[in-house]
Symmetry: C2
Subunit: 441 residues, 2 copies
């Protein structure tokens, strides 16, 4: 039969890892998840497919272009492009059955048909947490979210990082006090600072019919960056008319700073930064982005903030919230492609131990594997007929930490020769001793 | 602004759980995953989207009707309908970089646009393991897979179950010996036994131009069911000409039976059953299905078997394998809807402890939460301004195991009042004592 040649590569823009990399990815994901749970977030699992009208209810033109959309029977369906819209739908649908504040996490894939280029993904994991209130939500939850970000990146040990925090109420207060219209446009311009620099920002603000005095003020506000002590006085002394929004924004940031220190976040792990606005227009209070100090080229690896009303499109109830999202796939890809951070070892198996049988009858071998597994040791048996050389080649290639060679003598004596693959150390041990030696420390 | 009314229900056929159910689902999934890892399977994560030509390369008309397919730019894409085809593609694509036998698991969602009806899902989890050899694969791995099934359902404690095992080589041997053509048609008829009964099967076999003698023989073979001792003699004494396939099939089953007992599988957890053929035509050796004894209406909750060549469509290399799949979403739904099996409690949080602050200043509260989390206790703080009654209502509604009420006195004494929600028991404890009491046992 002539074979049709089929392209077996994964679709471009979709990450597909080899076993050794996958194991490390799973560890990273587990670290994030463990911390989400430590803070009391519950897992949520919404369908990947949604009605297109749900996903596009509030989305702009860019989203509409990127979305994966299809007809199936009479249904117009799309793949979610983030985890926030499905959360809004979920909360609107089930609000009567949920306990508020509702704290959920979701680590799951989302889809955006972006132009293919290095470092851009069309299928990628987002790792989100959000806390949703009904009617109101205490500012203290902002500190929980920022503290959680710090906790996770401390634990991942990928180098020094800085959580850059701002409050949209500062700029909103300025807009209010100075009666500036085009607010979203101004925010859009400030959001481009990292890309185009201050000079270009000033010029573009000029194009928005702002006076030089207004531009100077906004740039001064946005340019400040440092600890609370560094920035608060300068922010306070900006020449703007007294404004309640602006004052409230400052007060929230001050409390956030104190709470973060109280919760054990190192003082050099966060700063206040007037240039952080986050493009999305649904943020209304505290906003933040996270960068690795030695890898500005990674961009913001985790962002979030506070919004007044999550589910405005789907529900009449007011549901304020605060949340954050780690762009897991992109971040993992960046870390993977940066030398010296992640150790992708030879290990291609969760097994701690590989049994290499040197006997014909496999029954006592199955028994031994059963005992080790019952003792909590992930165990694998090499069951192919092969000479010892081929068996050891398999062990090496698998990168398993230890092998047990089992012959007639070992079965008789009930003592087994455990060889640690890294050191070459070899010892005759009982099953109980092997379990003790190879068990989780 | 007038609001458009949007239907916020999840799409029909897509499971969406409430928090308390979701926590139990996660436990079930974790139990399966833990066991997959204990047997040395590595996790794999392939994209949900594949080229349609990959998914439809070998698929029949039914699959083509059910598949979720879309155009995106110049690409013709589809959502995977199982995890086997993506595995075949992965193995063909990466065979040079994998270690064989390659043991992988994948617990992930797949998509089938089936007619909506109760208990049928269009988005559902499959929990698959497969062991893929290159060129050959020892029969011992069949025992590992069947043993793993037994291990998982023992641990889930959902009642007695039976793994019904057969070998396609028995029927294939009969086909060979009696020179029966229409083999797939015959298998298709036998596969309907549970639905239509023996009489109808005999009649349909007659329609396939089989002689009465042939029909009697096939039905006798298929009707046998019991322990190896029960069935082997009867199978051996069937009046067919000597046939190597048939003999080899019997030998494999005999060894499988012995290996399963050696690996600690209870004798009443598996049986041999000539009626198990599994419709899919890629199985070539041992096949099995699993049923709960008291819930035949659940159907087969886990099936699998051995196949000669996984990736025939994608690769010239011969890759035999053995695997199994748990239909997780459907099974969970069935268990959830059967009284008295799963306990969906009031618990809606992974938190072990909820802190209820009775003070204004949250900083020592954040500190306390940080210490508990550092001690491994998932901890949540209720940060809303509310009276104690409302706070306790939140605790009750959340179903959290314990609360800590923290006032000025407690902060001063560094002893906190821990209240166990179920028993009402209340004690004054240090942070260390709380960690000890609430930590994983």
């Amino acid at each position: 039969m002539p074979r049709k040649i089929i392209n077996t590569a994964p679709l471009s823009g979709m990450m597909e890892l080899l076993p050794a990399e996958q194991l490390v990815f799973e560890e990273v994901k587990a670290t994030i998840e463990r911390n989400y749970q430590a803070y009391g977030f519950i897992p949520l699992d919404t369908p990947l497919l949604e009605r297109s009208e749900i996903l596009l209810a509030k989305a702009g033109g860019e989203t509409e272009k990127q979305i994966y959309r299809m007809k199936k029977g009479e249904h117009d369906l799309s793949l979610r492009f983030d985890l926030t819209v499905p959360l809004a739908r979920y909360v609107a649908e089930h609000s009567g059955e949920l306990t508020f504040p509702f704290k959920r996490y979701q680590i799951a894939k989302v889809y955006r048909g972006e132009r293919a280029q290095k470092g851009r993904f069309r299928e990628f994991y987002q790792a989100d947490v959000d806390i949703i209130g009904r009617g109101e939500l205490s500012a203290g939850y902002d500190a929980e979210i920022v503290g959680l970000i710090a906790k996770i990146f401390e634990e991942l040990e990928w180098g020094d990082f800085t959580i850059r925090i701002n409050n949209r109420r500062l700029l909103n207060g300025v807009f209010q006090a100075l009666e500036i219209m085009d607010q979203n446009e101004v925010l859009g311009v400030i959001d481009k600072i990292e890309k185009i620099g201050w000079r270009a920002v000033a010029k573009e603000l000029g194009n928005l019919r702002l006076s030089q005095k207004e531009i100077d003020l906004i740039i001064k506000l946005a340019q400040l960056r440092g600890t609370w002590e560094d920035v608060s006085e300068s922010w306070r002394s900006l020449p703007i008319p007294p404004n309640a929004q602006f004052e409230a924004g400052l007060k929230e940031l001050e409390e956030l700073s104190q709470s973060l220190l109280a919760t054990g976040v190192r003082a050099d792990r966060f700063c206040f930064d007037g240039s952080i606005v986050r493009g999305l227009d649904y943020y209304t209070g505290v906003v933040f982005e996270t960068q690795f100090d030695e890898h500005p080229e990674w961009g913001s690896v985790c962002g979030g903030g506070r919004y007044d009303n999550l589910a405005a499109t789907f529900s009449q109830q007011k549901m304020p919230g605060v949340g954050m999202s780690i762009g897991l796939t992109r971040l993992f890809d960046q870390v993977l492609n940066t030398k010296g951070i992640l150790k992708i070892g030879a290990r291609q198996t969760p097994s701690e131990v590989l049994i290499l049988p040197l006997v014909q009858d496999m029954k006592p071998i199955f028994e031994l594997a059963g005992e080790l597994r019952a003792g909590g040791i992930p165990t694998e048996i090499y069951l192919e007929t092969a000479n010892l050389k081929k068996k050891m080649k398999y062990a090496n290639s698998l990168g398993v930490p230890a092998v047990i060679m089992v012959g007639e003598d070992e079965l008789e004596a009930k003592k087994y020769s455990l060889k640690m693959m890294a050191s070459g150390e070899q010892k005759l041990l009982t099953v109980g001793q092997i379990i003790k030696k190879m068990g989780r420390k």
